[in-house]
């Protein structure tokens, strides 16, 4: 009944439609073919003469406000704008480091990039591999930023290929938090346990003091978290995630570390897994001790109704050590030199002696400059609230560079956390758990790291 137009017209229309759709398909997306971008790195910034560049008047900063620092960050921005006239748009680009990084990845094919971005310990290298950030040495030197003053361990974390790819901002170590009131009630000395074995010993005394449903020690797991504090335990048994890029999860030492944490949860029962946030449980008095970031210190001091004690992470039978963590700040490489310069100026401002001290006082994160640690402001803080000092001291005494695999292989941290959760939640055999993730980490390495090196 319906009159069909001529066959030719129909075919023509169909062909046109199909062609246009296919053409549109080409919009966006990556260019296929090139696998190694090693030699062709668009390092325009290396050749930039910063003295000829006029800084941009407006920049964007992507942050997740570590340590609940949103207000403080805004305050620092206002101070900076007053001083230089450069406006900074503070954007909450995610709830945590992972979200900001994911958003940054998604935006990197586009123009909507920030001028300054949070670069955490497990993400900055991926940014670098994708040529998304620029090295900061030159511009920092131009600004007389005194890079020597940065805490060496913290700044060195971002070094690769003889260049630094980010600047420390909100840096932390994990701390052993303990409830001083409960400790006292249990008749324990006012300090953290020297070794994990000592904590297990003390459990008998602490347990009776803990409210119902609580425990002597609590932990939580999760990406960008579990595999971080676990490093200390595995190091304590003379094990490690990797030696360089070679996975060492099948060594007896690593497995011993796994067995230890398994026993902590399922054997001696000293530890319980916090449903959501171990720090919340700690501050509410439910668990007597935990491992938390020093960045949570201020929050804990405010929320707890008891006295909060902090200590180094305990040693294992074969020694110990602490990883560092937290986040630094990086400058995307695809921005204009004007924007990059303005961003670098702000970066320098944020991390100068006075401001890093202020930041530390408001959150608990470590001051990133040696001069700040020794400044009068911080000295006063340390006198009044010595807990702030613990991380700084621990950094000096026991800091150890994180195992390469966790920091340099994309997705490895999440996989390590997965194995940890198998052990802690499911009471899995560490050998099996590690074995399950090892090939996946290998794949991630060969796919995402090796071709780009």
């Amino acid at each position: 009944m319906s009159h069909r137009p001529a066959r030719r017209t129909r075919t023509a229309v169909a062909a046109l439609a199909a062609a246009s759709v296919l053409a549109l398909t080409a919009c966006g997306g990556p260019s296929v073919g090139a696998t190694s971008s090693g030699d062709s790195s668009p390092d325009a910034s290396a050749d930039v003469d910063w003295s000829q560049v006029e800084p941009a008047k407006e920049i964007t900063w992507w942050s997740n406000h570590p340590g609940q620092s949103q207000e403080l960050e805004q305050q620092l921005i206002d101070d900076f704008t007053e001083e230089t006239g450069i406006e900074v748009d503070l954007v909450t680009a995610g709830a945590d480091y992972d979200e900001v990084a994911q958003r940054f990845q998604a935006a990197s094919q586009t123009d909507e990039l920030p001028d300054l971005v949070i670069a955490s310990d497990v993400w900055w290298f991926r940014y670098h591999l994708n040529d998304q950030i620029m090295p900061v040495d030159d511009v920092m030197e131009f600004l007389d930023a005194d890079a020597e003053d940065f805490q060496p361990a913290l700044y060195a974390d971002y070094e690769y290929d003889d260049q630094h790819w980010a600047v420390p901002y909100a840096r932390s170590t994990p701390l052993f938090y303990y409830n001083k009131d409960l400790w006292e009630a249990a008749g324990l000395p006012d300090r953290g346990p020297q070794t994990w074995d000592e904590l297990v010993e003390w459990d008998a005394k602490v347990k009776p003091e803990v409210p119902k449903g609580g425990s002597t020690f609590g932990l939580s797991t999760g990406p960008s978290w579990g595999a971080w504090w676990f490093e200390n335990m595995i190091w304590g048994h003379d094990g490690a995630y990797s030696d360089g890029f070679d996975l060492t999860l099948d060594t007896p030492e690593a497995i011993a570390g796994g067995e230890f944490v398994r026993d902590l949860f399922h054997g001696s029962g000293v530890a319980t897994l916090s449903a959501d946030d171990a720090m919340a449980d700690f501050s509410s008095g439910l668990i007597a001790s935990t491992v938390g970031s020093t960045g949570s210190l201020k929050g804990a001091l405010d929320a707890a109704s008891f006295e909060v004690g902090t200590a180094y992470l305990p040693d294992g039978p074969k020694g110990g050590g602490t990883p560092t963590g937290g986040t630094g700040l990086a400058i995307p490489s695809s921005r204009t030199p004007e924007q990059q310069l303005a961003a670098a100026m702000f970066l320098e401002f944020l991390t100068n002696t006075e401001n890093t001290a202020t930041f530390s006082q408001a959150t608990g994160y470590m001051p990133v400059r040696t001069s700040a640690v020794e400044s009068d402001a911080m000295k006063k803080t340390y006198e009044q609230t010595p807990q702030f000092r613990t991380a700084v001291d621990q950094l000096a005494d026991k800091a150890r560079v994180q195992d390469d695999v966790r920091v340099f292989v994309p997705g490895a941290d999440a996989l390590l956390n997965e194995a940890l959760e198998q052990i802690v939640i499911e009471d899995a055999d560490p050998k099996t758990a590690f074995k399950a993730i090892a090939p996946r980490i290998e794949t991630a390495y060969t796919e995402n790291v090796e071709p780009y090196l």
Partner: protein
């Protein structure tokens, strides 16, 4: 089996009320209904109550039911942390415009599919309906790169346009149009009324329940849309309410339930009110899709 072929029973009158022998059944029925209502409604009440509590009251064991002294402190904090007013305005604006456009698009498309004759019609209809089966996850990354490459990130049109195409609406409208008495439209055509007039003077007035349903479903979807606006916008001044909820979550530290729940109330309340006022229309239209009467 046709209902029309059954003879009417001799007893025509239906009892208005169940009598005593059925009272036991009624009691069980009331009890179950009460239980279902509580299960389905209590969480919302709980949400409201919790948003008025202080942190001490929230993190208390045993549970405290009512807030000791209900305070809007959580709301104030939420408004301080994120620009609630702006988020609300964005949500309302985008929802109204988005839903309106979706309705218009669905209406027009369905009219063409039912009342017009053109080549590839079946294909077009199939194409439109098939999109109901395409999971959003498969289109998100390519759409994102497209939107970004035309500079639509952090813009209202970037949030709105990619989701604007109407499939469900087209479908509902089409189902409804198929039931419209063709005689009326034929008469109008013979009287010289063009398609435009026919659409607005006849078809639309005869479709108000479906119109209301599609509008309401679109409103609900637009308001609650989460993943896409989250990806496209990172400046708080262009965000919608559900995305703003994420702004409040903070994992490096401690999550403040009171504030988060207060924000959840703000996200939930407007749509709930719209629903309560217009539910009959919404229900009628939605069920029309499944059952034609």
């Amino acid at each position: 089996m046709s209902a029309a072929t059954l003879p009417r029973p001799a007893v025509a009158a239906r009892p208005a009320r169940r009598r005593s022998p059925q009272l036991g059944g009624s009691l069980a029925g009331y009890a179950t209904m009460l239980f279902a209502t509580v299960v389905l409604g209590l969480p919302l009440v709980w949400l409201l109550l919790a948003s008025l509590k202080t942190p001490e009251e929230l993190y208390q064991v045993p549970l405290q039911w009512l807030p000791g002294s209900p305070s809007l402190d959580n709301y104030a904090q939420a408004a301080g942390a994120i620009p609630l007013g702006r988020l609300l305005a964005n949500s309302i604006g985008l929802t109204v415009v988005g839903a309106g456009l979706k309705v218009a698009l669905g209406l027009a498309c369905a009219y063409a599919l039912v009342f017009l004759d053109f080549p590839f019609k079946k294909l077009v209809f199939g194409l439109v309906i098939a999109t109901l089966m395409i999971p959003p996850q498969i289109t998100i990354i390519p759409n994102y790169t497209l939107v970004a490459s035309i500079g639509w990130l952090n813009t209202y049109q970037g949030i709105l346009v990619p989701g604007l195409a109407s499939a469900f609406g087209t479908f509902l409208f089409r189902q409804h149009f198929l039931t419209l008495p063709a005689s009326v439209l034929e008469a109008a055509e013979l009287d010289g009324a063009g398609h435009w007039r026919r659409l607005w003077k006849f078809v639309v007035p005869m479709s108000t329940p479906t119109l209301a349903a599609v509008a309401l479903v679109s409103v609900v979807t637009e308001w609650n849309d989460y993943l896409w606006p989250f990806l496209v916008v990172d400046h708080a001044d262009k965000m919608t309410l559900p995305v703003g909820l994420t702004l409040l979550q903070n994992t490096d530290g401690m999550s403040n339930w009171g504030v988060l729940l207060a924000a959840t109330v703000v996200v939930t309340l407007p749509i709930l009110l719209v629903f309560l006022i217009l539910q009959r229309r919404l229900v009628a239209g939605l069920t029309a899709g499944a059952v034609t009467g």
